[in-house]
């Protein structure tokens, strides 16, 4: 009887998996020389600074972080509608780690940049990669109100590939909308800012549901994000108040980066 139950449970799970996740979470790039990057949110105003810890990823894979040859990395900047604003080429100096102040790159056409991707040189032919692709997964550091210490977070989704000079969204989405419940109880007094990026090639609609007692979900505002676009959703929680949020969308993994701002300090983490 137990065996029958286990088998039935497995069949049910496989059926649900086919229904909700019929493809891989992310696509492999279409070209073997491609490199992958996450889309990293930018927070840049009089309250916030964004930095990026740029490493010699190719060297770390190859087992050598002493980079004698010139090594150039391309930062691609996007606005919140997913439009490519511009590219900045940065040379990785022959040191262990380079902290890039994103604000210093955001001049001219990049002033309205909301996200960026970081593409390293192709590794094809340099290291045997067993079908894998070099990937830049972060870290971004965010400083709030000149507190002198950054909150770090790694990239959220394996979002985009640079393949033969073209940027290719890698995220998959399904046919049936599904919920992603943020695995965190919101506690006040605090302002929560949920930052979403759209790693798919489609426009994605996301609807916020919020609950103060977990038994009754209230559908609130919806928003749409273009391919490679981004959106920040803000929720204010009063003192002694708790709340839960979930997001309905067709994204396979509708996981936001969460900024919690409270008592003149902040906390950044994956939701």
């Amino acid at each position: 009887m137990t065996d029958v139950l286990i088998k039935a449970t497995k069949i049910k799970r496989r059926a649900k998996l086919l229904l909700f996740i019929c493809k891989k979470l992310t696509k492999a790039p279409s070209n073997s020389s491609a490199v992958i990057s996450d889309l990293f949110p930018i927070r840049n105003n009089n309250l916030w600074k964004t930095e990026f810890e740029l490493l010699n990823v190719l060297g770390l894979i190859a087992g050598e972080n002493n980079q004698k040859d010139p090594y150039w990395v391309n930062f691609y900047f996007y606005d919140s509608a997913g439009g490519l604003l511009g590219i900045r080429e940065i040379e990785i100096k022959n040191i262990g780690r380079t902290t890039i102040k994103i604000m210093n790159l955001m001049d001219h056409e990049l002033k309205k940049a909301a996200t960026f991707a970081v593409f390293h040189p192709s590794i094809l032919g340099k290291v045997e990669m067993s079908g894998s692709y070099l990937a830049e997964r972060g870290y971004s550091g965010y400083e709030y109100q000149n507190l002198g210490v950054k909150g770090y977070v790694h990239g959220n989704l394996d979002a985009v590939a640079l393949s033969n000079g073209k940027v290719e969204p890698l995220g998959n989405s399904g046919f049936i909308p599904r919920y992603y419940t943020v695995q965190h109880c919101l506690r006040g007094p605090a302002k929560y800012e949920f930052v979403f990026t759209n790693p798919t090639s489609k426009t994605i609609k996301i609807t916020l549901n919020i609950s103060l007692n977990k038994k009754k979900w209230l559908a609130k505002k919806s928003f749409t994000m273009n391919s490679l676009g981004s959106h920040t959703f803000t929720v204010d929680i009063e003192e002694n108040e708790k709340a839960y949020v979930r997001f309905k969308s067709k994204l396979y993994l509708g996981r936001p980066v969460v900024f919690r701002i409270s008592n003149d300090s902040m906390d950044v983490f994956h939701g």
Partner: protein
Amino acid sequence: MKTPNLNGFCDLVYESPNNWENRIQKPISLYLLWSNGNRWLSKKISEMNYGDEIRLVTNSIDEKCLATGLALIYPSLEPIEPELSTLPSRKVWYSEIPAWRNTSGFYNEFTQVSYQSDIEPLPSKASLLTFHPFIQFGDVINNLLVLNVTNDPKIQSGKISMFNSFDKSFVADTLISTNSLTTIPLDVYSFKPTDLPVFYSPEIAGIPFGLGIAKSGKMLSLEHTHPPASLVLHGNRRAIQGKIKKSWIEKLVKT
């Protein structure tokens, strides 16, 4: 988790992260599990119904349960024996896309820092190689935290070595322990902003975190470092991770 000068918290929410996997809604008991070096000890600390949330903090937990810096919280559908030879294997709160997690972290009188936590037991014998790119400078205290949990309750210590990844120079050896949260102060090693330290433990695996504490106390920073497999995506990542580790270990250990 407990680390010097900060309190730890764990926020649990009884709600699966998606609406199609593991729609469990049965009442559960929360057990605290900790190792005394020979056995896993357990104590029921609370109950939760579907939809409940609870915050557990280290100041409300007996110090002896946190002697290793770490106690585990396990949601169980049935009573658990007070002493166990191995960790419970049944996954009650479990999903894969996304993984069912909760929020752990640290707090002080000013602020808090969160990490989306859950942990599967690690192999009793495994190695760790990781690069630490977020040591901070200025009025900040930098620590490396190494979290290890194994099914075996033994608390064993092993060496973790620090090197400078650029010239592969040896920096220092220190110890980490199984079934513990080990706090390693990093500021004594005078790393520079252009340094990328690499940490290698030949016998004990773990999840490494960079913890930054503003000397004013007004900002905390916590993030895990990546394993080498995170430098690549798709294909045979395990094979690549093996190659990366082998390549670095050969050079570091010979140096």
